[in-house]
Amino acid sequence: MKRFIIYLWSAQIITALLMSSSFADINTSHDDDSLTLSVITRYSELLHKRGWTTRIDGNTLKAFQFAADYNEINVVISSHRKNTLSTFDVEIRKNEKRNHHIFTFHNNTPEHREKAKTAITAYLISHTISPESATASKSPHFVWFSAGYSRTHDNSEIFPENKRGGYFLSMNYTYDPSRLTGIDRVHLGFADYMTIDMWAVFDNDPQNRNYVNENFFNFDIIFYGTHRQAGTIRNGFRLVYGFYTGMEYFRPGWKDNILLWSHDLYREQPHIQYMIWRAAGWGFSGNWYTPYGLYSLVFMAGLGPSINSSLFAIGWGPNEELARSPLFQSLTGSKQNFYYSTAYPVSLYVAADRLWRFRLSIGYNFCFFLSSDPAIKGEEAYDILHVIKPSAGFYAAENVLVQLNYERWHVHSMLNGDHLSHSWNRLCMELKYIIR
């Protein structure tokens, strides 16, 4: 009996609590929270159809879209319930442009849920499809340009000869929208990350016009990768890794008739030229932010078809050309210094940036070219390229870097068991302007 009375009292207390106005007027209810989630989910599905990536976290939604730019939407919905009315405070921020609206709905009718869902979703969509905010406020494009003076010395002595040099122009473009998301892990699809590097040297000596006018470009595009990010700009890291495809090209001259065998200088001067399609490559780019500077590591390895020169196709007289390997004979009439190969390029780059106002870096490029012309039997060739590139720079201003680069190139060629090696040097002073 005593136990029965206790149960009765308990039941009375719970009933009283449920019926009291203080309990009924609590600020939010499970029903409204569930409605908020349902609105956000529906909005998220619509954004997906329009090409956005979304992340839902409770009553908030973050969406971003790359598509050659970076657009971001942040939505926060908070609900408040009083008696039979529920209010929803909806805030949408698209590319920093903020819009805000308070919706009120009756919560005691069966239709209110659908009505609220439609009205709030329509509001959110109206601020998503708005042409005036088509331009994103955050730019995912990172560019620098540089200009300077470059000298190449065609033998292994460490300092370039004074009289051979040219004006140097260079640019780097990186499309990197995922770093703006602020999200710890983002999947990257085709072209969600890409880098373009190019440089060229233009001769300043009229006597040697077109001599050692090196030109280079490298395009890399991610086709499946991951972005990771944690911490802050003062103490954090940011990584991008995944599978890339890309093309790399280097040539020590532009015109065929200057570069190739008909020209005395290039007939005599050892050189390398190549064009590689890195059909499949794996790349890693890491940045570590510390109070003492920014540290970077970039690595790329891959393989793919290529065309490249050999030291064995240099120094031939017109009569000796007929004695070339069939690897080169296949190009009879064209007088070319290249053979078809499979290339295995590897590159590594390490930098310490913003150490007070200094930047120090060192890069290493390696490539193994192995002849692979199926039509030529019994002839074998390979070339190995090493380039080591230390550099030191000083920030004259926030976006202006004065830098001195040194490059040591080494090529080792093999043709049917014979070996040849050659090294040369390049020194470059440049003024780099960084656009963020």
């Binding site: 919706f103 329509a122 509001y123 190739l260």
Partner: protein, 378 residues
């Protein structure tokens, strides 16, 4: 008789296009099932402008499987559940005539609505716009028209503006109407044929250049320009060619870039554009250089260079357009980086059009009277 001035297409092409549009509509979103629940009343309010009757006579509404009624000028417009009333009228004169359309109906939430839009007389998107609005009205049968908009049109990338208005005050928030702008560009079929035509034209330019430098190219000629020669070319297969380094590593890649950017600017994605780039290269190797053996290295470097450089330069071009001030320099930079985007964007502007439609929720009693008065006094 179809008013020839109104329609940009005539005869068989027009009938085929309408049939295709109707078939597409029939198979979309269980549309036929929804449509069969409706009857559609058509009313041309302006004498001498019988666009809806012409469309009916042309079979435009046949695929909807609905009861169709054409209202004479002395018949009453009535708004009942299960009926969509479609009206047309003409305003303006001379070269500035505007065709006005309105759709009246009741959605699944029992809201009386009016969808209205205007187009220039003779606009090429008249049928497209009509189909989209009918689709919207019919899909609203099982829920509200706003839901039909959100689930259907709002997720499409060609919707470029959308504003919604709410009743304000302390009472419940309700949508009183909304406006959206849809840009109707060329159809996928149009893009397909335009890409094909542009690749043929680009290859023709290449061929002209090839024959200007005929003496240099003759060294690679192996086949007679006849059917026997072509058969030999097919059976000989592919080989690594003997062209110089610059041709192989720069010119072919540039061709790939242009092929890729042509497809990309015709609304194709990266993968499809790569396939187009490969197709462009194959066309060149088999048809352009018809007297030479097909080059394996060209078939690799042209499309792959197209994807890698083409996509990179395209994004660089978009960046330049976004960050530089409008002017000759910006135009020049964008053209250099992605010429086909500039060309095709201009073509899209000439071909495409946009229309803005307005949805308003109306008082049932008021709506019929207003509509009748407004339309008949035009």
């Amino acid at each position: 008789m179809i008013n020839a001035r109104y329609y940009p297409m005539k005869g068989m092409i027009r009938k085929i296009t309408l049939s295709i549009l109707a078939i597409l509509l029939y198979f979309s979103n269980s549309f036929a099932e929804e449509a069969s629940r409706y009857s559609i009343a058509l009313f041309d309010a302006t004498a001498g402008f019988s666009i809806l009757r012409d469309l009916r006579d042309d079979g435009f509404f046949n695929s909807l499987s609905t009861q169709l009624r054409y209202l004479a000028s002395n018949q009453e417009i009535s708004l009942t559940s299960g009926t969509i009333t479609l009206t047309s009228s003409l305003t303006g004169s001379g070269g500035t005539e505007t065709a006005n359309f309105a759709l009246l109906g009741i959605d699944g939430g029992n809201h009386h609505y009016r969808i209205s839009w205007q187009l220039e007389r003779g606009s090429g998107i008249t049928e497209d716009a009509l189909l989209r609005m009918l689709n919207l009205a019919i899909n609203s049968g099982s829920h509200t028209i706003t839901d039909a908009f959100l689930e259907g049109i709002a997720s499409q990338s060609d919707v470029h503006a959308f504003t919604v208005s709410y009743a304000s005050g302390e009472s419940e928030s309700t949508i009183t109407g909304y406006t959206a702008t849809i840009e109707i560009g060329p159809s996928p079929r149009h893009y397909f044929w335009r890409t094909t035509a542009e690749l043929v034209v680009l290859n023709s330019f290449g061929l002209i250049n090839y024959f200007i430098n005929k003496d240099a190219n003759m060294v690679d000629w192996e086949y007679q320009p006849n059917w026997e020669g072509f058969k030999r070319k097919i059976t000989d297969g592919w080989c690594l060619d003997t062209n110089n380094f610059r041709t192989n590593s720069l010119y072919h890649i540039y061709a790939g870039i242009i092929y890729y950017q042509t497809a990309r600017s015709n609304n194709y994605g990266p993968l499809a554009s790569f396939i187009w780039s490969f197709a462009g290269s194959t066309f060149w190797e088999y048809i352009g250089e018809y007297r030479e053996q097909v080059s394996t290295n060209d078939q690799i470097f042209t499309p792959m260079g197209g994807v890698i450089f083409g996509e990179g330069l395209r994004q660089l071009g978009l960046y330049a357009e976004r960050s530089m001030r409008p002017g000759i320099l910006r135009g020049f930079v964008c053209f250099v980086l992605d010429p086909m985007r500039i060309v095709n964007r201009q073509l899209d502007r000439w071909i495409g059009d946009a229309f803005t439609f307005n949805v308003s929720f109306i008082n049932p009693a008021h709506s019929i009277i207003t509509e009748a008065i407004v339309e008949r006094t035009r």
